[in-house]
Symmetry: C2
Subunit: 243 residues, 2 copies
């Protein structure tokens, strides 16, 4: 019989935002592996588990650790924030899993920041939408730029992950400049910081104003499509019902 | 004090895929309003609740019903499958809510089919992705076509909702033909029917093969990006780690 490793999406952070399936997968585990920031979000419910981690940028080692622990006969879950299949460890687990034929992977989905953040702002993704990360650690910037242009061209609602970091303080500004080549300055936008955690901040603004905002890496940014309206302070991408 | 109406994403269907927050919102309600197919998925836990519904296409009436019931002093939740903010009732609730100043809306996010379906197939959305509905009930087809072209142009991973219906039996074929103008025939694709419900079906194929598939409206379709690989039968959009 194969060793099954769960790759679990925690949602935004608070336990109440996890699915029952995710909670159960973690409860059934002997060891929970993940980036330390996410492990710290797990509550007392899991205090009897062994927690293992590797530093940021050591993602491949973290994945390998899952397989090695499973081969010892332990039940293993890897945790990711949001959904493991959205900029999470799911794909890397499959890639590294090629070396571990005795193991199989189960993905337990979670609520990703595009959707949990949208809930705070109203309904900014309530039509066709794109999710784009501005991190160029693994993706060349010209590819990110091409995707921003395509998203504007297609009049998608847009959710932007990793809008900034210490080394990339001006990336959101650069992204807004690219979008402004095709989208009007008054387009309704918004962003949410610390979704589902302490100190949630929720802001709406125009695309022109967004260009000048300083946000951090725990922020998800939303750009409306051409049919997005601000209704009582909420971003609403209208679906086109005749009322 | 305002009447709060919860608009709750149920996730794919099974109760174990709902968040604790969603369960709690429904448990705290006097009346649960939704499309009958979704109400039937709710388990015994909610058997003491009043259930109200309107037929398909009567979405505005269903929203109005929420506000009218809340004005009677009842605690109301509207349920949607997946996430209420992804082709769900969130935006229409805000639009109609303009007429009901005494009420306010809270969106409780859920796991949408793009993410729950992806978990079955592997990691098909593990990079920048687009979500596109092929339903032209509320969106003109030329707009859908423009978005498909932009998604291909941007080399996004793509999740397609509402790929077919009785009246639109050839829409997935049409969509594939549009994508094939820019994407090679051998591009890895897949689809999942009845996510999180009985009779889940999970298929991988090429884009050329997808063009000839007959799928139903309970199916979510996935198109890989140029960096998507089939690994042990799973769709994996690689993030670009050097291994």
């Amino acid at each position: 019989m194969k060793h099954t490793i769960n790759v679990v999406g925690m949602g935004p952070g608070a336990e109440e935002m996890m699915s029952f399936q995710a909670i159960k997968a973690l409860e059934d585990s002997d060891v929970i592996i993940g980036y330390s920031v996410y492990l710290e979000l797990l509550g007392d419910r899991f205090s009897d588990k062994e927690f293992l981690s590797t530093p940021m940028r050591k993602e491949a080692e973290r994945c390998r650790m899952c397989f090695e622990e499973a081969l010892k006969g332990k039940k293993v879950s890897m945790v990711c924030s949001g959904d493991a299949g959205v900029y999470g460890m799911a794909s890397l687990m499959y890639e590294i899993g090629k070396e571990y034929e005795e193991c199989e992977i189960t993905i337990v989905p979670g609520i990703t920041a595009a959707n949990s953040g949208a809930a705070y702002l109203g309904a900014p993704l309530n039509h066709d939408y794109c999710v784009i990360s501005l991190s160029d650690l693994l993706t060349p910037w010209d590819k990110i730029e091409k995707r921003l242009k395509a998203a504007a061209e297609g009049d998608f609602c847009i959710a932007i992950y990793n809008p900034s970091s210490h080394k990339r303080a001006d990336y959101l500004k650069k992204a807004c400049e690219i979008l402004l080549e095709q989208i009007e300055e008054t387009r309704i936008c918004g962003y949410v910081a610390n979704i589902g955690r302490e100190g949630t901040v929720c802001i709406t603004c125009t695309l022109k104003e967004l260009k000048e905002k300083q946000v951090d890496m725990f922020t998800t940014v939303f750009i409306g499509n051409s049919n997005t309206e601000l209704i009582n302070g909420k971003l609403v991408a209208k679906r086109g019902y005749h009322l």
